[in-house]
């Protein structure tokens, strides 16, 4: 016979969906946020983005080489981790910090677990938290937005969440001018890490992902809704101490987390009900940490904690199998 036939088990048809394509879509969805950050913070933001991305790809390649595993840079997961990491750092981060972050994310949080699909914790968030704890000064030196700046010596400014927390700690009440900045928050004119600043850009990216069916609505919706409801309760109880839900939605890394980190497929539940539970858990923990914890921002910790709970959530939110009947006693 000239050509040998292919034989395989059914099905002989596939959707054509591929891991590479999914990762690429997420990267596209992050581009608006990345562009806004570069616009707002100028050259330093671009440098941080580049270092993180390239270093992540580099570390991934080195690991796979060392472990003698096939090179899978083409799947885009390392680049994605790098971009996410950069979006979680302040624009003023020194180059070595980006490098350490990329190392932690790729090597410690991902490759030693066996690579893509195996890491129990979101690599970019692990890196962010490691950096936050190790270099608190550099990690909280936020630069004030200075559109298209080429300078590396920029004015520092606090994040809105930081301001709120500090005011409550010192004076027992929120600063009076807090609500003034909503328009700025929405467009990204505030201090913060690269990816936190523009709610609009993040929202666009998130909706793109849902539209393209890369992610489902479950996690973002349940996450954001929980934050609104839970923070709303506190706000209604005491509006002078606790900021209103809109403030929570638009500031900090909430949108970035809800659309891009809490939907990271590898580290979150696979069942639709599990995703809802995951979102609710993230929402509760975020608000709890923001309002009562030692850190002004709770998104990273909340998602990491829920990452840890993911195997259990999956286990206990299995769909009811077809034809499930309770055993008759």
């Amino acid at each position: 016979m000239a050509n040998q036939l292919y034989l395989s088990s059914s099905p002989h048809f596939s959707s054509g969906e591929s891991t590479d394509r999914l990762m690429r879509q997420v990267i596209y969805a992050l581009l608006p946020a990345a562009a806004v950050s570069v616009y707002m913070f100028g050259l330093p933001a671009l440098v941080t983005l580049l270092i993180c991305t390239l270093a992540s790809i580099g570390f991934e390649a080195v690991c796979q080489k060392l472990m003698g595993r096939p090179r899978t840079l083409g799947d885009g997961s390392a680049a994605l981790t790098g971009i996410l990491l950069a979006l979680n750092l302040p624009a003023s981060s020194p180059w070595w910090m980006s490098l350490i972050g990329a190392f932690v994310a790729i090597v410690i949080a991902k490759q030693i677990y066996g690579g893509l699909g195996c890491n129990p914790f979101n690599p970019a968030l692990v890196a962010r938290v490691v950096l936050l704890i190790s270099f608190p000064v550099q990690m909280t030196r936020w630069t004030a937005p200075a559109p298209l700046s080429l300078s590396f010596d920029s004015v520092t400014s606090a994040t809105p969440l930081g301001q709120a927390k500090e005011a409550v700690m010192l004076h027992g009440a929120l600063p009076a001018d807090l609500a003034a900045g909503f328009g700025d928050f929405f467009l990204g004119r505030m201090g913060g890490s690269l990816g936190e600043v523009s709610a609009l850009a993040l929202l666009l990216g998130g909706l793109y992902l849902i539209w393209k069916k890369v992610i489902t609505w479950h996690t973002p919706v349940s996450y954001l809704a929980t934050v609104v409801v839970f923070s709303g309760i506190f706000w209604l109880v005491d509006g002078t101490r606790y900021p209103d839900p809109l403030f929570h939605l638009l500031t900090g890394g909430l949108l970035l987390g809800a659309f891009f980190m809490a939907t990271d497929m590898v580290t979150t539940p696979v069942t639709p009900r599990g995703m809802l539970v995951f979102g609710v858990g993230c929402g509760l923990l975020t608000v709890l940490i923001r309002l009562f914890g030692g850190y002004p921002e709770g998104v990273s910790f909340a998602i990491l904690l829920m990452n840890a709970a993911t195997p259990l959530i999956d286990r206990y939110t299995q769909p009811k199998k077809f034809g499930f009947v309770l055993e008759k006693a």
């Binding site: 850190y295 910790f301 990491l304 259990l312």
Partner: protein, 193 residues
């Protein structure tokens, strides 16, 4: 009442015995390969911790202090804990031989589990009242169980993964424990004290 709730929350999350105080690491690493086993261990520890807290508190305030022999605290507490563990061991062997087998050596080792002794000693150090001690014990035990079960879930998942040879087993477990502890740092400052 608020005080008690704060003690409970603090013991479970903020000052989690395993992940923040780093007590009881031995069973945490030893019997966390399966969620069921971890749960069984958590329950055994919960029982021992709660009863130990009660008994050691009574011994401290009704025997050691009245007789001025606080210097015997450690040995007296260990004595109590050891007997309790023995008791639990016998009960489990009778009731659930499967659990008994899977817990293996770690069951008698609860005796020397620093989490239990640490709890008894902390109770006295912090000057907790009887009720507070019990609540603290329950909180600590729940926190221990929570950490165990979360960790076991993660390990079950890691077991399905092609972890590089040199990291397999305890190495990857320790890394994971570290990351889990990192995540728990988010609770820092939630409850003062």
């Amino acid at each position: 009442m608020v005080e008690l709730i704060l003690i409970l929350i603090s013991a479970i999350f903020v000052n989690n015995f395993v992940l923040a105080r780093f007590l009881g690491i031995c069973p945490f690493l030893g019997v966390s390969k399966k969620v069921e086993t971890a749960l069984g261990m958590g329950m055994a520890v919960t029982f021992v911790m709660t009863v130990a807290a009660v008994v050691t508190w009574l011994i401290q305030y009704f025997i050691l202090i009245p007789f001025n022999i606080e210097y015997l605290q450690t040995i007296a507490f260990i004595l109590v804990i050891a007997s309790l563990v023995q008791l639990v061991e016998m009960v489990i062997q009778k009731v659930s031989p499967v659990l008994y087998q899977s817990l293996g050596i770690f069951l008698p080792l609860i005796t020397t589990n620093c989490a239990v002794l640490g709890l008894a000693v902390l109770n006295i150090q912090k000057g907790y009242s009887f009720l507070e001690s019990v609540v603290f014990a329950i909180g600590a035990a729940l926190g221990f169980t929570l950490a165990m079960v979360l960790f076991a879930g993660l390990r079950e998942r890691i077991d399905l993964c092609p972890v590089p040879k040199s990291f397999r087993g305890t190495a990857i477990a320790l890394v994971t424990a570290g990351l889990l502890s990192l995540a728990f740092m988010g609770f820092a400052g939630l409850v003062k004290g």
